[in-house]
Symmetry: C2
Subunit: 364 residues, 2 copies
Amino acid sequence: MNVAQPIEWTSQGVVMLDQRRLPGEVVHHIYTDYRDVAAAIRDMVVRGAPAIGVAAAMGVALGVERSSAATLDDLRAKFPSICQTIAETRPTAVDLFWAIERMKRRFDQLATANASLDAVRSAMVEEARAVHAEKRATDEAIGRFGAEFMPAAGKVMTQCNAGALATAGIGTALGVIRVAVEQGHKLHVLVPETRPYLQGARLTAWELHEGGVPLTLITDNMVGHFMKTGTVGAVVVGADRIAANGDTANKIGTYQIAVLAREHGVPFYVAAPISTFDLTISSGEQIPIEERPADEVTHLRGVRIAPEVAVANPAFDVTPARLITAIICERGVARAPYTESLRRLAESASHSPRAGTAGQRSAM
Amino acid sequence: MNVAQPIEWTSQGVVMLDQRRLPGEVVHHIYTDYRDVAAAIRDMVVRGAPAIGVAAAMGVALGVERSSAATLDDLRAKFPSICQTIAETRPTAVDLFWAIERMKRRFDQLATANASLDAVRSAMVEEARAVHAEKRATDEAIGRFGAEFMPAAGKVMTQCNAGALATAGIGTALGVIRVAVEQGHKLHVLVPETRPYLQGARLTAWELHEGGVPLTLITDNMVGHFMKTGTVGAVVVGADRIAANGDTANKIGTYQIAVLAREHGVPFYVAAPISTFDLTISSGEQIPIEERPADEVTHLRGVRIAPEVAVANPAFDVTPARLITAIICERGVARAPYTESLRRLAESASHSPRAGTAGQRSAM
């Protein structure tokens, strides 16, 4: 199956698919300067937490690989500014800081060992590629654990884009669907367009279409109608943040899809890496909701579609755990009561950004 | 309170607000030829069942008033073609045919009585103005019956545009809100944008803003979030067709709002004239759902926002009666069991299009 890749390390440089121009144009950029990678992250050429993490790691690696430094001391002097430039792009992206920290630790290890300049350069590139490979492995594990919950045939629904474009792997929610299709499930995906930013219409519809997965694009207010009149076998969505009790923050609209799923007896699955678990908060009520600019609602591609009135634009909503049939991560499947099941999975994890930043991982 | 009027009879001709250009531009057209009124109906300068009925009546009246006929016989010969031109504009608009039939009956009555040409002309204009006045009276009655169900203060929600722009009165659902506001209720309206055609964003937000009613525009996938996190005191929507058992067809998205209202304990009201009652069908399952063109979903104002994939675009959905707290019409308020309450109201009605076309009304 064709999987659209948002970012790749190549001998020419870091190649990114410009997601801002999808679905109208498929444009790739080749970056040979880490400052251009930083600009690409900031300007949302790439988006989605895991993919941003991969981009950050590759940005740091690119900065090291192409640095003009002639000695290790010289490179050591230049390194903090490379990391700083990448860090200043998306201030709320947890994966970004996790990836930078990981690259810093690797650099410190190499510098402490007085590795040769060439060895440092190739080892840092290897580390960035390892980050990417781990993200891919995470998605594939989620896909395998989740596929068994997909119906043998029929309609499934997702929301937003929890796909390859967001993760740089096969996707989380879309990874589940992909693996199921590869295993022979005859799935047809209902894709809500996901206003206001239209990630469903622009990205998920494009990605599934490119991958040869049958789909139907719908507007967000058709969800209930299709659950009532068609047979939807399952809903599978991604997550931005999962509280200790299983409450899940995800793209706006996810909550009402979960309510509608429950109303119609449709199982509702969350597919997300352990890096989205935030066990420091006991429930979703503690998750702050980002309010985004009004013009995302009132304008579309620069065209005004509403008068100048008050607008609300919460980026996320919180789906209470009671509406979630199961949470699928790379280590397995959590079911209610989530406070126990999520902690058990998190404690067995080895690749969690939060675990990493909390210093629970052994040094690389 | 300022009420935007979509259509008015004036001494200069029939004045229409061009709703296609809202909210960006407020443009009025003055039509002095009935063929231009027909084109305006066909091209959706005016929309909304009751407003189309008013436009049709005014179109026929304009054709008679401005006819070159020198004798009553001459006018009698020209009259069918006027009616035919107006009838060929929107083949599924029940109110259009009801209005034309009413104008025909009035013309036949005048012709049979051998009224003078001038008398026929002024009587036909009067008849069109009477149609308009009756629509206004209907809305005002609905507004009065419905206002008491609005909270004294706080948020209410609607869907699509069941407002003045659709009815040529004060609106049905928006009429309820308007009357409540005039009576002193401190309401703030949450307006879902209503994809794909954006009647909420383009028309309802504009109309409420013009009328000085506080509102917040949201996307359709924010409904559940705001019901969960804010206090929504009531939902009030219009209707396209109400079956004998109370099942209600209305703009796509209405059904899921009703499910979400029930989930959050929010009362859900339908405000619609008796002309939308279709007691010949026992339940909503018999209501066919119009499928509209894919490009309404994939394009916005000519700009492609999705790839070339399969699209669903049902114009309406059906809300089952069990989710409806009450149905408010110009004769009063129906509550479950609707099969009895709707019939009782319909049988007491004197201004119903369907009652009219069914020959139950005395000749005018």
